[in-house]
């Protein structure tokens, strides 16, 4: 029997549809969420400092309620003198090369991180010791309330003593026991990772993940072309998300503000040669006036297109932040009065001057970051009626570190699930520690409050000290005290996701340039065939 051509065509079309439906479920996810780490994927040098380091696993994890959950460690306890942590490990954790993760690896990781002096501050750790293959003890020099955060964030690397162990180039070829292993990293372009076949947890939902490291505009174009499944976008571009994609808004504790250099310019330089000090911002009247002049609601509406809320501190809403820490701003009259009282005189509507010093300084922001650029430009306009000129200046991060970080006001961002960050940001011991306390702020009273918080016996006691560091009625790092920053906004993180991608229940994101969304990666699902 001869078939006519229409039947054959229909049959072909149907078989194509059937084949398409029977196709494998999606096994590769392409993401453009930014955040390429300069130093590679080495936890000892700061990779994964906000948790969930992708390639490595951590001893504990943070649940959605931020409480510690078991990961590699199934039992943990702290001695009565609060100096010794004892942790019992799972016995089925393997690195991506199939070898077992033991207490030796954990001890090595903590000891090495303490020596490395990276962004994980383990200076309080005296010694980490493997008691047996599944038990490790961590002994501290003094009690430290935030030490548990290191257990939740520091990824475990293989001991240098083993065959495939930790070496100097670990950041470029990381071997870990996390859900994924690195396949290829083309720096500045993309990172390809695949499932770790030996991962002890549930099977990750996608066989392969591709992370593209693109700028904001390229990301938007890739989204429009349908080349990525999940991408982060600045609030300015939130309205440009293609209609066939879903907009995912993630709550965060990620803030942006102006970090002021606190020292006078006395010709000093940091170890890397970066000049320290700025005679204008070192004057507290200038910093307080700027804080009073900022209209934070407008900053949220214009710079963030409404995706955020005003910020008055580094951890608004967290238990270690003082809920009374706000300002009745904008209040230009009070701001001007503050400047007049301090001797900053204005003539003919020009810039203010004091002792021959003009109220002008650079406000540096990282080039390519639209949100920070907008915040810099808008805040500069808000402050100009005071007779203060902030000059928005774009620089690349490496240039900021070499030249600007201690002498320019910088649009910075932080935000953590742990009060440890408060310690790093405002304790004099961390002056000039990478981006922490880059304004070189020193206040003995604040140092005392921060140290007391670290020594506290309970989180409640510690929170009282953390809040006193912000404002104790006389001094503090906050806007009522030394006004070390002019905090502007708390962000909401915005992502464009394929409508087939179910991201599960998202937690509250810390600062961390896109990576925080991968915290619940194992819960993600592709809902289309």
């Amino acid at each position: 029997m001869a078939l006519d051509s229409r039947t054959i065509l229909l049959g072909l079309a149907l078989s194509c549809v059937t084949l398409a439906n029977a196709a494998e479920p999606k096994d590769q996810l392409v993401m453009a969420i930014g955040g390429e780490p300069e130093q590679g994927f080495d936890p000892l040098l700061g990779w994964g400092q906000y948790g969930n380091p992708l390639f490595q696993s951590t001893l504990l994890a943070r649940g959605i309620d931020l409480a510690p959950q078991p990961q590699v460690a199934i039992h943990w306890s702290l001695s009565d003198d609060r100096l010794t942590w004892t942790l019992t490990l799972r016995d089925d954790v393997r690195f991506a090369d199939g070898t077992r993760l033991t207490a030796d690896d954990v001890a090595f990781t903590f000891n090495a991180a303490a020596k490395a002096g990276g962004r994980a501050d383990l200076s309080v750790l005296q010694n980490a010791e493997a008691v047996d293959s599944q038990t490790v003890t961590l002994t501290l020099r003094e009690p430290r309330i935030t030490f548990i955060d290191q257990l939740m964030t520091l990824g475990i690397v293989p001991s240098a003593a083993r065959e495939n162990g930790y070496a100097d180039d670990y950041g470029r070829a990381p071997l870990g026991s996390g859900p994924y292993q690195l396949v290829e990293w083309q720096e500045g372009e993309q990172l390809i990772v695949e499932r770790n076949p030996y991962f002890y947890g549930p099977t990750p939902p996608f066989e392969r993940l591709v992370f593209l490291f693109t700028g904001e505009d390229t990301t938007l174009n890739a989204l429009r072309a349908g080349d990525v499944d999940l991408a982060t976008l600045p609030p300015a571009l939130a309205g440009e998300i293609p209609s066939d994609m879903q907009r995912v808004v993630m709550e965060s504790v990620d803030n942006r503000g102006i970090l002021f250099p606190m020292q006078h310019d006395e010709g000093k330089t940091a170890d890397n040669g970066a000049p320290i000090g700025n005679d204008v911002t070192a004057d507290i009247a200038i910093r307080q006036a700027i804080n009073l002049a900022l209209d934070r609601d407008t900053l949220v509406d214009v710079a963030l297109e409404g995706y955020g809320r005003p910020a008055f501190g580094p951890a608004d809403g967290m238990p270690w932040s003082d809920p009374d820490e706000t300002l009745a701003a904008p209040d230009l009259e009070q701001a001007i009065q503050r400047l007049e009282d301090a001797g900053w005189q204005q003539r003919d509507g020009g810039l203010r001057k004091k002792d021959g010093q003009t109220a002008r300084f650079r406000l540096t922001y990282p080039a390519g970051d639209t949100t920070r650029q907008r915040l810099a430009e808008i805040s500069a306009q808000m402050v100009r009626p005071l007779g203060i000129e902030m000059q928005p200046t774009a620089r690349h991060w490496d240039e900021i570190q070499r030249k600007a970080i201690h002498q320019d006001a910088v649009v910075m961002g932080f935000g953590s699930h742990s009060p440890q960050e408060i310690y790093y940001l405002f304790h004099s011991a961390h002056s000039g520690n990478a981006f922490y306390n880059s304004g070189v702020y020193t206040n003995p009273s604040v140092d005392d409050h921060l140290d007391n918080a670290q020594r506290a016996a309970s989180a409640e006691q510690a929170n009282r000290h953390w809040r006193n560091a912000q404002w104790d009625g006389e001094t503090g790092y906050g806007v009522r005290g030394d006004a070390t920053w002019a905090w502007m906004v708390n962000l909401e993180h915005i992502y464009a996701a394929d409508s087939c991608l179910d991201l599960g229940t998202l937690g509250i994101a810390p600062h961390g340039h896109g990576w925080p969304i991968t915290a619940n990666l194992l819960d993600w699902r592709w809902t289309c065939n």
Partner: protein, 266 residues
């Protein structure tokens, strides 16, 4: 019509265009803070009587920003063209020092011409860290070879001209011949060459800035206005791209016209 008529026309057109360019160049100082002033209640507003060319996403007046951007472009372009021309003149004079120097100059010119100059531009601007200075240097360093080749050919023809041969025979020094014979001959070509370089320099400044290695993003440069416009095209804010683009086109075409008039006039 007298024979002088076309020359007179050229003079008047040239003068008119030159006045336009000077007016644009000086607009940056006349406008003061206006290009940066934000009006939060008029963000992404289409062209109207209040804002002739509309406003951008932060409510800044596009007319003021376009004028300031063109002024910036003309300033940067003229400096880049000037430096490019000086390099070209210097290289052409160098080639006159002897056959070895001539071969070296020819080699440098050929090498530079064999590399696509947008790539060189990007590399140089990136290596210098971006910014106004970097753009001027990058454009100047990449745009001199064509003019240098032209000047070299002109001067080579001159080498055996009777008055040069006689001047040498009379014992005039090489420096004298350079300064009093070669240089005056090359100068008119230089002026035209600089004018021809000018629109190229402006376009490339805009391109570099558009690609993110040019002027500081806080300045209202045309390349930045165009890059910014790309983001909002799909949401219908056509004025952000059209007017700065047309402004750039107008300036570049005016300069082309001016240089061709001058070439005829000279």
């Amino acid at each position: 019509m007298s024979r002088a008529q076309p020359r007179r026309d050229a003079f008047w057109i040239g003068t008119a265009i030159a006045i336009l360019l000077v007016a644009l160049l000086s607009s940056r100082w006349l406008l003061g803070d206006t290009p940066g002033q934000m009006h939060f209640d008029a963000r992404l507003a289409p062209p109207s009587l209040d804002h002739w060319l509309g406003t951008d996403a932060l409510g800044r007046d596009l007319w003021a920003r376009t004028l300031a951007g063109l002024s910036l472009s003309i300033g940067v372009g003229s400096l880049a063209a000037l430096f490019g021309t000086l390099i070209a003149l210097g290289m052409a004079m160098l080639a006159m020092l002897g056959p070895r120097w001539d071969a070296l100059v020819a080699l440098v010119i050929d090498t530079l011409l064999s590399v696509p100059h947008l790539i060189l531009l990007l590399l140089i601007a990136f290596a210098l860290g971006g910014g106004t200075q970097a753009v001027i240097i990058a454009v100047a360093v990449t745009h001199w070879p064509r003019l240098a080749r032209l000047l070299r050919a002109e001067l080579l023809q001159l080498r055996h001209a009777p008055y040069i041969v006689m001047s040498r025979a009379l014992g005039k020094s090489r420096r004298f011949v350079m300064a009093y014979h070669y240089l005056p001959h090359a100068l008119p070509q230089c002026v035209v060459g600089a004018l021809l370089l000018f629109p190229h320099a402006i376009l490339h400044e805009a391109a570099l800035t558009f690609l993110g290695v040019g002027l500081d993003p806080s300045q209202p440069a045309i390349g930045l206005l165009l890059a910014d416009a790309m983001r909002y095209l799909s949401s219908g804010a056509w004025w952000l791209g059209v007017f700065p683009g047309l402004g750039l086109l107008l300036v570049v075409l005016s300069l082309e016209r001016l240089s061709s008039h001058w070439r005829h006039a000279l």
